[in-house]
Each structure stands twice: as C-alpha cells, then as structure tokens.
C-alpha cells in the first residue's frame, strides 16, 4: 500500500470508530448516542459481569485444606501465611488407631502483596483454593487487605459451579477436579 492511501486508511479507521460510537444505530437513525455506542461501561454506575473463570479474588475451602504449605512455598510474593497443628481424628475403620490430621489455625492471604498469578490455586493438591470472579474488595486501610480464613471462606460462596470441560478434552485432562 502506498504512503498516502495508507495515511488515509488510518484516518478512516479512527474516523469510522468515532462515527460508530456517536451513531450506534447507523445512518437510518442518526441520533447521537455515544453511551450506547461506546465499548466501555461507566463502572460505578453500571457493572460488567465478569466471565465465570475471571481471576478476581482467591477463595478458601477450609475443610479441604491440610496445611501442607505447598501454596505458601510456591507463592512468588510470599503473601500466604499458614499456621496449623496436628489433631486426632476418629479412625477410618472401627477399632483402628486414631488418625493424625493437620488442622489450620491461620490461613491469611495478603492481597496487598498478591499479584494474582494463581500459582497457589494450581499447586493445591486438595482443591482447597479457588478463583472467584468477585473483584470489589478494595479497602481504605491497607491492613484490611489481609484476608483471614473466615473472610477467604466467605468468598467460596461467590465461586461459580465448575463448568464441565468441552467434549473431547478428557483425553488431555489428567484429573477433573471435583468441587
């Protein structure tokens, strides 16, 4: 493409976008209505529904957590704090020895440090961590961004139901997580 046609085409792209934004209904109904034509939404007044698998905030399913510390170790920002203790649990079979299980005392994620990489969700072998699409959790005080385990458990309510994989993807998926 020559120089001048290229320049004119470039002007056409921006000018065309402008006209589409101002007149979203086309030339049959030329009423300026940029609020409808713009791709953006005016956030505090109207909200976009985030996609189901959006990475908003990390939720904790407390019963599944064994305090194995894998997430805390893999976290690039070291923003996960876990403390736990051993507990006796009833034996699996009658007459057996009581089992020793880990119970968590503290599970905090500092979202002021978190960079939302999702490695903790990936490495969790017991499906205790989930992505929630909820994104409105800003705080006036930075200390309040440290979510403790009760707060993280509350986010579980916003975690969407597991969407089944597409047909034919079973061959590639080693283990389909159960929610």
């Amino acid at each position: 493409m020559g120089l001048v046609p290229g320049l004119i085409k470039g002007l056409g792209v921006t000018g065309g976008t402008m006209l589409r934004t101002i007149f979203p209904d086309g030339w049959k109904k030329p009423i300026p209505n940029p609020v409808k034509g713009a791709e953006t939404v005016q956030y505090p007044h109207e909200k976009e529904a985030p996609p189901a698998r959006a990475r908003g905030v990390i939720a904790l399913h407390e019963e599944n957590c064994t305090a194995c510390m894998l997430c805390a170790r893999e976290c690039p920002d070291w923003c996960i704090y876990i403390e736990g203790h051993k507990e006796k649990a009833p034996p699996r079979r009658a007459g057996g020895k009581p089992r020793k299980v880990n119970a968590i005392d503290r599970f905090d994620i500092d979202f002021a440090l978190c960079m939302f990489c999702g490695i903790c969700v990936d490495v969790c072998p017991f499906d205790a961590l989930f992505w929630s699409p909820e994104y409105e959790f800003s705080e006036p005080r930075i200390a309040d961004l440290l979510h403790d385990k009760s707060r993280l458990s509350e986010w579980m309510e916003t975690v969407p139901e597991f969407e089944p994989y597409e047909a034919g993807s079973e061959a590639k998926v080693k283990k389909v997580p159960a929610t």
Partner: protein, 346 residues
Amino acid sequence: MSASLNILGELSYWQQTGIRVGAGLAAVLLIAGTLVYLHLFKLVSFMQSRLGPMEAGPFGSLQLLAEVGKFLQKEDIFPRKADRFVFAAAPFVVLMSTFLLVVVVPGGPDAWFIDTELGIYLAMAVSSVSVIGILMAGWGSASKYSMLGGLRATGQLIAYELPLILAVIGVVIQAGTMNMQGIVFAQAEGSIFGWGGIGNPYILTQGVAFLIFMVAMQAELTQAPFDMPIAESELVSGYMTEYSGMRFLLFFIGEFATAGVFSAIAAVLFLGGWSVPGIDPNDNIMNVLGPVVMLVKIVGLTFVVFWARFTFPRFREDQLQRLAWKVLIPLALANIVVTGILKVAF
C-alpha cells in the same frame, strides 16, 4: 463606517486597550477550553470507542474546570540546579506568542484587534517567538530530558517554520496583500472563472499550499505525529518534564490555544475567514456572524489536527527533518513559482 467602530472610536485609548485585552483573553481561553473539551476529551474518546469524562457536570463539561483547579493547587516546583529566572519565564514567553498571534486574526469587517498591513507577516514572525520559550524551558530545567526535548523542539520548529511561511507566500501573491482583512475580502469578492457565488476561497487555487500549511502547522504545534519534542515514551515529557502546577498549565493552555489560533489563521488564509457566501462582507451583521463563522471553521480545522494526532504514530527524528527539507520546502517553492507565473499570466 458601521456602528460598532464608532462606539469603539469614542472611547479613550486605555478603554479601547482594555476591551481589546479582555477580548483577546476571552478568545484565547475560550478557544483553548472549547478545543480541549470537544476534541481532546470527547471526539478522541469516541475515536477510541469510549466516552471520556462523564462525571463532572453534564457529559463531563466541567471536567476542564476541575483540571484547572487541580493544577492551581499543585506546588510550583523548581529543580535545585534550575536557572530560576529562565525556568520561571519560559511558559510566559510561550503563552505571550500565542496572545500576540491571536491579535492579527479578524472576526468581522470591524471586529478586529489590530488591522495592519503587515498582518500575516506579523503572525509568522510572532509564531517563531515560542521557539525561544521552549528552548528556555529546555535549558532552564537543568534536566537531560528537558534539554533534549528543547533541542528537538528547536530543530523541528525551525525546520517547519520555513514551509509554513513559504505556503503563506502563495496566498499573499494571489491576494496581493499581507493584510488579513485584505485576504478575507480578496476571497469574499473573488470569483471562480467569472462565477462569484461562493467567492474564491484559496483552498481551491492554493490546495497544495493548504496541505503544506496544515502539515507544517501540525509540526509547529508539536502534535503527534510530530511530537518528538515531548515524546513521552522516550523523553518523559520533553521540555515540560520539570514543570508542575500553574506553569505546566500555562504550557498546556499555550499548546491548545496555539492550535486554535493557527487554525484561525489557516481559516483566514484558505477558507475565506469570517465571510459567508451570499452576504455582503461589509454588512454590519457580519460583525456578529463573523466570529461565529470563524469559530466553526476553527473547530473544523482543529478537528483535522486532532484526528491526525490520534491516528498516526510518531515520526523518527531523521524522517521528520527529511519531510520538511526534502518534500515540503521544495513543494512550497514550486507552489510559489507556479502561483507567481499564473498571477502574471492572468
């Protein structure tokens, strides 16, 4: 002689001066505000499929006041090693050149600030003063980014001053006068092959000069794609890097007011200025209608400037100089020669 001039003529010198200074201030600030809101805030947002400011006032119309208020609150910071006087004076030099430019633009048969035979010559001379202000800002900041930006700006503005002036010469030859009013009347009373229905706006006969003028004007305003001097991705903000608060605001006003004033000059030179086809240019109604017509033409021409600004990526320094020296200046010289020959021939 119409009524408005008589009223003005009865006033004493200082009263006339006061009115002119007030009108000049209003013209510069209102045009700058209109352009920033209409083009920088709104039309450019629409080009990017977004809405721009919507919160302050209806459709964000008071956003500009909020921005000005924000800038006025900010601390006026001087870098420690800055040349304080030069640093402080630079924005005023730039703004002064804008205010002196607006003086030559006529708005009607009697609605003018000064009516001098030098007209466009004065405008071209005054417009180069801003180079000194920009160089002062670049040097006075004692910062390498500002220095580089200032030097780039100087090289660019001097290079594009030439095609700008050479493009104007074609119009001056055709109109036979450098008086801005004379150029408007020459277009309003001109005729195309004997048909005088729309006069003879010089964009028809001086189309090449108009294109050169618009390109050179874009470069003079340091708007993208000619924004090497303030290239934000390499020079932070060029010669404006160290400025904050009020002085940055002055640069900002200067930038957009100059865009409006240059568009006004282009409208006078090529689009027939304040005249309207079908209305006698000496009619008194033109003193009211003329400024409105000028405003419409200014908005139209600056729209083209901002359209190009938000469409094209930045020139490299050598491409920018090559365009000026190897394309625009020879083209402008050829335009002068052809215009001169045709002027003598017809």
